[in-house]
């Protein structure tokens, strides 16, 4: 080959690679790409419901399963470049930050935002940011006290209604094996809420995580450990899996966890008879659990906005919600879905129904995830006895003030 020909061939190759790399995916106004972030046990049902919506509507649906851990980052990166799904299943905690970054569509004024009388009020709050509506609730969740019914019956005790009860019944349940306290930050919130504490007060723009109420609440967790009425795993990265091992092996009588853990618990030997798995409200305040769950959002810049709205309307209809609840035991966000006969027969949904109605609101600000991460370290320090609750939470408040929420008042 002559040199010139080689050069031209090489340049041509580089050029075509560059073009291939830059070429974007073609968009189709009639195709809704849906990122499903549900777990492996759940995604099949969501896929079927989506397929049914596709059949009933005049649009196509492509479901892509994305791991929940990666979804937020992948979505942000993609949406920033005008790529990504048309519809995303977003955690309730993500809505405000995605809205703040301008990555999801304002749905105010569309039927999705106005026709909301049927939705439970707490999950609906998560869809709003600065007075506008950005999302539609998909499922809600609430943490609960899971207990091993057989163990409690053998010890002759009822599920505890207060943290004092836990201390009182612990000796009969094997002392520290009565309750396993997970070292993760989200699981610290029921303790924090017990005496009316909270992370921040968004109305007063104040940091309340080191208020006397919050400190008293968090102190309960440490006191339960010290009293030998509960145990924990001090290695935070392994804490959740250790808790599940301890509960499913029958070592521990009670744990605090959410409905997402139910399939794993009922799949284990100790709960092979699902009736052995008791579900009760978490002791503490009247609204002991933070509200969790997922919402549907439409990507800003999507070409299939019209079709996406129809798709979400179908996915969040009472019929779809009832089917998801009946098959997966996830909690519907529409009150009408609870009246569906199949849902009424689902013991998990029925057990969680009163709990989901009494959840604690969270701070729907873009920083809400950022508030939880440093709490993880502070909570682990408290449970390990490395720091006194007051000292650890004062340090946490300093951190909120200096890094997360500089314009909030510190007490």
């Amino acid at each position: 080959m002559r040199p010139e020909a080689t050069v031209i061939a090489a340049l041509g190759l580089v050029g075509s690679l560059t073009l291939a790399g830059c070429g974007g995916a073609e968009s189709n106004a009639n195709e809704v790409v849906y990122w499903d972030t549900s777990g492996s046990a759940e995604s099949e049902v969501f896929r079927q419901v989506a397929a049914e919506c596709e059949k009933s509507g005049d649009y196509d649906v492509r479901v892509e399963t994305v791991s929940f851990d990666q979804a937020l980052n992948n979505y942000k990166t993609a949406a920033q470049g005008g790529q990504g799904p048309d519809v995303l299943r977003a955690d309730v905690g993500w809505i405000s930050q995605l809205a703040e970054a301008g990555l999801i569509q304002d749905l105010s004024g569309t039927p999705l935002a106005t026709d909301t009388a049927d939705y439970l009020p707490k999950p609906l709050e998560s869809t709003k940011y600065q007075g506008k509506t950005y999302a539609v609730p998909q499922v809600t969740d609430s943490m609960a006290l899971f207990y091993n019914k057989r163990k409690l019956a053998e010890a002759g005790v009822e599920p505890p209604e207060s943290w004092e009860d836990v201390k009182r019944i612990a000796p009969k349940l094997g002392g520290e094996n009565a309750l396993f306290i997970n070292n993760d930050e989200y699981y610290a919130l029921p303790f924090l809420y017990t005496h009316g504490g909270d992370l921040v007060d968004t109305e007063a723009k104040a940091i309340t995580v080191n208020s006397p109420e919050s400190v008293r609440g968090i102190r309960i967790a440490k006191e339960l450990l010290d009293a030998g009425a509960a145990r924990t795993a001090l290695d935070q990265p392994n804490s959740y899996s250790s808790m599940k091992t301890a509960f499913t092996s029958g070592e521990v009588a009670m744990v605090i966890d959410g409905p997402w853990a139910v399939p794993e618990y009922t799949g284990s030997a100790a709960f092979s008879d699902p009736k052995n798995l008791g579900i009760a409200p978490i002791p503490g305040s009247a609204t002991p659990s933070p509200v969790g769950g997922h919402d549907y959002v439409i990507r800003q810049g999507s070409d299939a906005t019209e079709a996406s709205q129809q798709f979400i309307r179908c996915m969040s209809s009472t019929r779809s919600q009832a089917r998801i609840a009946a098959e997966l035991g996830l909690l519907p966000t529409r009150s009408s879905a609870y009246e569906d006969p199949d849902v009424a027969d689902n013991p998990i949904v029925q057990a969680f129904k009163p709990l989901a109605a009494a959840t604690h609101s969270r701070a729907w600000i873009p920083e809400n995830n950022e508030l939880l991460e440093p709490l993880q370290t502070a909570y682990a320090d408290i449970l390990a006895g490395r720091q006194d609750p007051q000292q650890a939470l004062d340090g946490l408040a300093d951190k909120y003030k200096s890094t997360v929420l500089p314009d909030y008042a510190k007490r």
């Binding site: 405000s96 970054a101 301008g102 990265p237 392994n238 091992t245 390990a384």
Partner: protein, 305 residues
Amino acid sequence: MRNFLGRHWFAFAMVLPVIAVLALLVVLPLLQGLYFTFTDINDTNIANPILDREATYEFLGWQNYVNVLSGSAAYGSFWATLLRTLIWTFACVGCHYGIGMGLALLLNRRVRGRGVYRVLLILPWAVPVFISAFAWRYLLNSEYGLVNWALEAVGLPGQVWLGQSNLALLSVIVVNVWLGVPFMMVALLGGLQAIPSDLYEAADMDGATAWQRFTNVTLPGLRPVSSTVVLLGVIWTFNMFPVIYLITGNNPHTRILVTYAFERFFSGATRDYAIASTYGVLILSVLLVFAAIYRRAMVRQGEVL
């Protein structure tokens, strides 16, 4: 000059695509990152043509560097984190080199089943890092882990390996040593086999002891290989992200510079491009300074890097 170009135009034409691609993929992003460190850029003020949004970030001058280098906790306690990064790097590379050298010397002899040993010793390197990391996380579980079980079986107290203490740093160092030894071992074994055997014979003739042979023949003979792999090892370990992140998450006791840059970028409500880039530039500077000092030390010893 014209003559030079005329004679070598073909060579230049051949490397041009490589230069263009490198400029596009390495130099341009590097310069852009450098520029970001002088601004307050994050993902709410970055330009976004799809959303019809203009860039609104502002030029801050040296403010990001002042904030980070002040060592304030709000910006990741830079000096304390740098110290921890150095402890982590030199502990890891020191053990890699020492243990790798020991194993390479053992394997350099004629022993039966040498091939089997080699394969087994290379195994940690061949397993994807995230699998090793998760396996170690379970091994080090304080309640149900194999390590504590073994300790308790011989009557020693179990430890909370991955808790809120410096034991967590020790744990990740141990895991990283386990992961990194095979590379050193293979590289040094290659170096050992390149040392001519007549040097050893000559040393024998002169009545050198085993230790004298090691310090006067083996070590100098290995120097070209060692100096390169140690430099590579320092750079890799300094920026080793997956081991720490997958095993301990965001534990402040194992935070090194790269993991903090990652936390800063990904865990905030808004992605802080500015501070993350500042950390990137500072990491690059530290490594450049180290490489320069190291190279000078090597040159003084008569090596060419």
